[in-house]
Amino acid sequence: MIEEILNKEKKQYYLILTILTILMLGIILISVTLGKADITISESFKIIFKKIFNKNIEIAANKEAIIWDIRMPRIISGLIIGAGLAVAGTIFQAILRNPLADPYTIGVSTGAAFGAVLTIYINIVYSLFLPIVPVAFIFSIITLFVIVKIAGFNQTLHSSRLILAGIIISSTLSAAIGLLKSMAGEDVSAMIFWLMGNLAAKSWTQVLILFPTITIAIILAKHFANDLDILTLGIHEAKNIGVDSEKLVKFYLVIGAFITAVCVSISGIIGFVGLVIPHLVRMSFTSKHKYLIPISALVGAIVLSLADNITRLMFVVEIPVGVLTTLIGGPFFIYIYLNKSSGENV
């Protein structure tokens, strides 16, 4: 009896996985043809064909640049960041055992934001061109260390302590960001644009950073996914049946924070993908993490790239994708919260 159910679930999983993968590939192909520049669909496909198979086809150089060097990296970055945020959200909801957790709960993202804003500020004041991404990344990692230190790394990492430490650090850093913003005067717009989160102006360099790091992190996350299921019993209960829950929580904390740090450093803070997608998958399919992680990754990728298409194409002035995801995600968040508190019988 158990066997049947497990097999059925497995079949469903592969089916969903296949459908989503096809959908994702479809979205890549369609998105690449859409845009404000006057390029036909057949031209777009020709360019992709040319680049991938290294064929010699006559195409205008500026069109080739738009498709291959502007649209493609942006679409792929969006997919990877969407996947990364969704997986990080799944991880944080599991290890913090809190359905309201997301990649930004423990404040790593605010660390990245502070790093980015600081870099922009220094660049403005001293007329430098310091790169934002590495500084943002370094600051998010520093933030992680500080938070873990506050929560007490050598003890059992209790979720409430982690969340509390995250909130404290987040609000302190937010204040610091506010300070920098007010000091920046008229140049504040660059900071605000970064903070709102966007996928514009991504190049192949960013894809090269994103792809290997996020892929490896997601594979690692899936590898120990069965233990994450057991963790839902509670940290002590999991230990009682032989899961080294302390080590497990720390391992996933580092992976989740790493994914968040990479994504946020590159795209800024794109809200709610990491909160909503894991819930969506959990409610509609399964709460088993070995399925939840890959499917959330794909759904996250698809949702973020759809959202990015909307911001790119539907508005006269391009709005940051983070604004759109938060606009849609906010009401969804409230919906989950209300459902959650009414369904609780503790």
Partner: protein, 269 residues
Amino acid sequence: MLIKASNLTIAYDKKEVVHKININVQKGEIITIVGPNGSGKTTVLKALTRIIKYKKGEILLEGKEIRKIKDKKIAKKIAILPQTRNTPEDFNVETLVRYGRFPHTNWQGKLSKEDKDIIDWAIKKTGMSHFRKNKLTELSGGERQRAWIAMALAQKTEIIVLDEPTTFLDLSHQLEVLELVKNLNKSENVTILMVLHDLNQAIRYSTRIYVMEKGKVIAKGNPEEIISSELLKDVFRVNSDFYEDKRHECNHFIPYKIEREIHDRRNIK
């Protein structure tokens, strides 16, 4: 000797709550730790099950320091039923019981035929067959308790540790759980270590009793010899009458009055 705790001292931060106690558990025994609230019973169990770290002394599991054994290895030897636990919302009984096999499976968590048989056996043994597919949140307190016991059974361990397994349960469910424990001890030769509040139940079901007060073991041994009206007066501040429970051939007592002296002192406070 299955478990041997010697000179065990446990502290929460700086505050010492258990002072240099010795507890031994032998194969096939039903050991019960009793004592008033705050005497340190649960703390001792938590140390035995590595939820809190002890300060001094040692706990040996089959002669090996428990802190040096891997979690998975311990989980093959000791199953634990904690006192309070959260109830995962989307778990059904079978999923929970399946997790009991975790220590015996490899990292992929694939279940063998044997694992599945054990799961079926654990569910049947605890009378949960009808509730197999029910969610934990749909069950009553007694049923939920049995579901967790089924998970502990699925671990197929030599020892089961239960922390106040009858608290929050009504009379019939209390009896049910304790009879189940006794039956496991008899038919499967599972060693039991538990904390109970009801002393009469402790007398009836235990082979040996440890009485704790203020972080110390103040009496231990055969329940008939240990639980006396003097001890109840000293430790639990009650006067009581003892009767013979002919059916179970053991003592049974009824407390009738709170010790005056203590009572007064508390009033003055």
